[in-house]
């Protein structure tokens, strides 16, 4: 059922804004409407900017902590901590401190990494000169002699020697870097230009050695020591972070506290110098609660609840009995109902439930689903849409078992079917699915009839829905020999109504006739919709046959004890795979039958979701004391 909405208008003094919004946030029943006039003013309040910085930082640190917190198995079984609302509001000093520590460690790690990077770069330059036994700062030009360090490709080694002999220069070769020979030339200043020009032809390149007061070997040793020292430090910090990430919960709490505060700070309302106008949507049946909350928090206020006008587009809130509410997740994924139509969940839910069971249709798989989703619900305690989806699948395990018994399917084995086995009797199954399809489509059209009648379009309901129902059921009855006459009658009656009325919106007579003929052409779309339900047969056969093949394979190898073990492995893996694939197919195709075949008969959708101010709690359960 769709709950009617009311627009809340509250005028208070600006000083009270924060307390009132916090109180509204606590109720989780108020969805603010942001003022359009001030929305143009994009400059955020200064505290909102710093808040988003803080939040961003906390999220970064959470990410860092996550890298160290790789205990998935443990994580999966972990339950969310519960805290009271009062604690949630308090300043989270521990979280802030942890965040600061994380940041400190993070910065230290980064600094160490840069240092290590610089050291290894220097090692690379110095490595070939390791055997040079003169302190590096003594290699310089003096009055008579110049000392030059350089590199040359190793293919020119002989040429280098020759040049050295020819010019009388002293050349010492050292190590090699990437096929380049490193060497030192000592030559008198006078003859140096001649030597360099000859060397240039061999693609000689100068090397500027850093001037350390020690030899290259010594410096290398120092650098290596420094790196290993840094690595050691990194390990220590790693250990610290690992220890700190045990307290990740506080960091998560901090992030959620920031998010909760940010939500309030980011909304803008219309203001005067002294007062502020808070507008928002609330459910009609929650008006009294909100009145109380406002009354308790502020002294001076003006509060009214207005019925939405035609230009307003209130959000949609649906409230259904628990079983039906779980299937809302399927409808919501298509689109929320818009505020002026009937909530489809009441009809779509049970159909989804039944069709899912038909598609799976196996007792064994049904029991597996029952156990898996039951324990998943118990252990993980999912929230929101995830919870609804899990519940949907959990409920569908019951229909899966029921249809499994009807079709006599037990882990792919056929055993005493009550109705018939789809594997040996696919035609019967086909007729069965088509009848289900017709009923499904008719129930959608019935909703449209109700909507039409409610809006006062009684004749539209007769012309557009009842006529088609007559025609389709008439055509269906033609297949039954005993009801063939009635079938003919109904089909002709339906066809005549459509022929005469489908073009009624056109003014000219000729167009009316063409419209009628075109209207009758719609039979093809109805037929394809109905035929589409044969996918139930295809999916139920797919589940059954693959299960059967797995049994067959297992039986083939189970000839001795070793074979039995392999057979067991095949059995378990094969059936798990089949269960997973069948679940996916059933979920997708059952949804599709709702969205395409069922919804297009009556459903418009396009509703906005109701997003009230609420406490952001993805990682912690915040317990709100209702009496408080």
């Amino acid at each position: 059922m769709i709950i009617p909405m009311r627009k809340m208008r509250l005028i208070i003094f600006q000083n009270d804004e924060k307390t009132v919004l916090e109180a509204l946030q606590k109720t989780g029943e108020f969805m603010p409407i942001e003022s359009k006039e001030t929305a143009a003013d994009t400059s955020l309040k200064s505290n909102a900017v710093s808040r988003s910085d803080e939040l961003q930082r906390t999220h970064q640190m959470l990410k860092l902590s996550n890298q160290y917190h790789k205990k998935y198995y443990h994580h999966f079984l972990e339950q969310q901590p519960e805290i009271s609302y009062e604690t949630f509001l308090k300043e989270n000093l521990k979280g802030k401190e942890i965040c600061k520590k994380f940041q400190l460690y993070d910065n230290q790690l980064k600094a160490l990494d840069t240092d290590i990077g610089q050291c290894s770069k220097e090692i690379e330059t110095l490595q070939p000169w390791e055997k040079l036994d003169i302190p590096l700062n003594q290699l310089k030009q003096d009055q008579y002699v110049s000392v030059t360090a350089g590199m040359i490709s190793e293919v020119f080694e002989q040429d280098l020697k020759r040049i050295g002999e020819e010019t009388g220069a002293e050349i010492h070769t050292y190590g090699k870097v990437k096929k380049n020979l490193c060497f030192l030339i000592i030559q008198t200043n006078k003859e140096m230009p001649d030597l360099t020009s000859r060397l240039k032809k061999l693609e000689f390149s100068n090397v500027n050695l850093p001037s350390y007061p020690c030899t290259a070997a010594q410096k290398l040793k120092d650098l290596k020591e420094k790196i290993s020292h840094n690595e050691q430090k990194k390990i220590e910090i790693d250990q610290c972070i690992r220890e700190l990430s045990q307290d990740e919960k506080d960091l998560k709490l901090l992030a959620e506290q920031y998010e909760t505060k940010q939500e309030i700070e980011n909304i803008k309302f219309q203001e005067t110098n002294e007062t502020i106008l808070i507008q928002g949507w609330v459910c009609k049946d929650r008006i009294n609660l909100l009145k109380e909350v406002v009354h308790d928090t502020v002294q001076y206020y003006d509060l009214e609840f207005i019925k939405p006008s035609k230009s307003d587009f209130p959000p949609t809130v649906t409230r259904n009995p628990y079983f039906w509410a779980q299937f809302e997740t399927i409808t919501d994924m298509y689109s929320k109902p818009n505020p002026s139509e009937i909530d489809p969940a009441l009809v779509a839910g049970p159909w989804y439930w039944v069709i899912f069971g038909m598609m799976m249709g196996d007792v064994g798989y049904g029991i597996c689903m029952l156990l898996i989703f039951y324990f998943f619900r118990k252990v993980k305690k999912p929230k929101g849409n995830a919870k609804k989806l899990i519940n949907t699948l959990f409920y569908s395990s019951f229909t899966t078992i029921i249809f499994g018994v009807l079709f006599g399917s037990y882990f792919g084995e056929t055993w005493h079917p009550i109705l018939f086995a789809p594997l040996t009797n696919p035609l019967k199954m086909l007729y069965f699915t088509l009848v289900v399809g017709i009923l499904h489509i008719f129930s959608g059209m019935a909703i449209k009839i109700v909507e039409n009648v409610k809006e006062g379009h009684f004749w539209d309901a007769i012309f557009d829905q009842v006529s088609w129902m007559l025609l389709i059921s008439g055509l269906g009855l033609l297949f039954l020999p005993s009801a063939r006459f009635i079938g003919k009658l109904l089909a002709i009656l339906g066809a005549v109504i459509i022929l005469c009325t489908a073009g009624r919106e056109n003014k000219k007579l000729s167009k009316k006739i063409v419209g009628g003929l075109l209207g009758l052409y719609n039979i093809s779309s109805y037929l394809s919709d109905i035929l589409s339900y044969s996918r139930i047969l295809a999916l139920s056969l797919a589940t059954g046959v693959i299960g059967m093949v797995m049994n067959l394979l297992a039986r083939m190898v189970a000839v001795n004890i070793g074979g039995m073990i392999i057979a067991l492995v095949i059995y378990i893996i094969g059936h798990s795979f089949n269960l997973a694939m069948s679940l996916l197919s059933a979920y997708v195709h059952d949804s599709r039958l709702q969205y395409i075949e069922f919804f297009n008969k009556f459903y418009e959708g396009g509703g906005k979701p109701f997003k009230p101010l609420s406490i952001q709690s993805n990682h912690v359960d915040v317990k709100i004391d209702k009496n408080n």
Binding site: S534, V549, M581, V588, S591
Partner: protein
């Protein structure tokens, strides 16, 4: 082993073969898109995985029909029925719809799935719409499977 049985066996082979290729290519196309989206947004792994798995069903349908042919001809139990050449060709014919439609629709669905995965990457909430769009392609593979099954069971 009669000539009819051989032809029927070819039929079983060809429907598993072609529709398997179709699904493999389809899943591959979708998988490339899924890997791209996941590298950017690792949280969407679950959502894009569902979309990537969708073109995989054609292969299952082809395999399903192959097994059904093997059951109907008695090949799977090791003592095949005596089947005439004409009957053999009829079994072969029953394999054709899902073999050919499975091959082409698997690839086509893979492309649609890839587009839906990109859409999910941009707007994670629209993944259900993407699933519906991708499932629309599969309708024709299902109809082909239905045709195959109807032919098979009317032999």
């Amino acid at each position: 082993m009669t000539q009819g049985i051989i032809i029927a066996a070819f039929g079983a082979a060809i429907c598993a073969l072609l529709s398997g290729i179709g699904s493999a290519v389809g899943v591959q196309i979708a998988g490339q898109a899924a890997a791209g989206v996941t590298s950017d947004q690792p949280d969407l792994f679950g959502k894009v995985l569902v979309l990537q798995a969708l073109p995989g069903t054609q292969g299952i349908y082809g395999f399903l029909l192959a097994v059904l042919i093997l059951v109907q001809t008695g090949l799977i139990s090791g003592n095949p029925h005596s089947i005439t050449v004409m009957q053999g060709w009829a079994y072969f014919a029953s394999a054709l719809p899902i073999a050919i439609v499975g091959l082409l629709s698997g690839i086509a669905q893979g492309k649609t799935a890839a587009a839906a995965i990109h859409m999910t990457g941009k707007d994670p909430d629209s993944s259900a719409k993407g699933i519906t769009m991708t499932a629309l392609v599969e309708t024709y593979a299902i109809l082909a499977l239905l045709a195959s099954i109807l032919i098979l069971f009317s032999i």
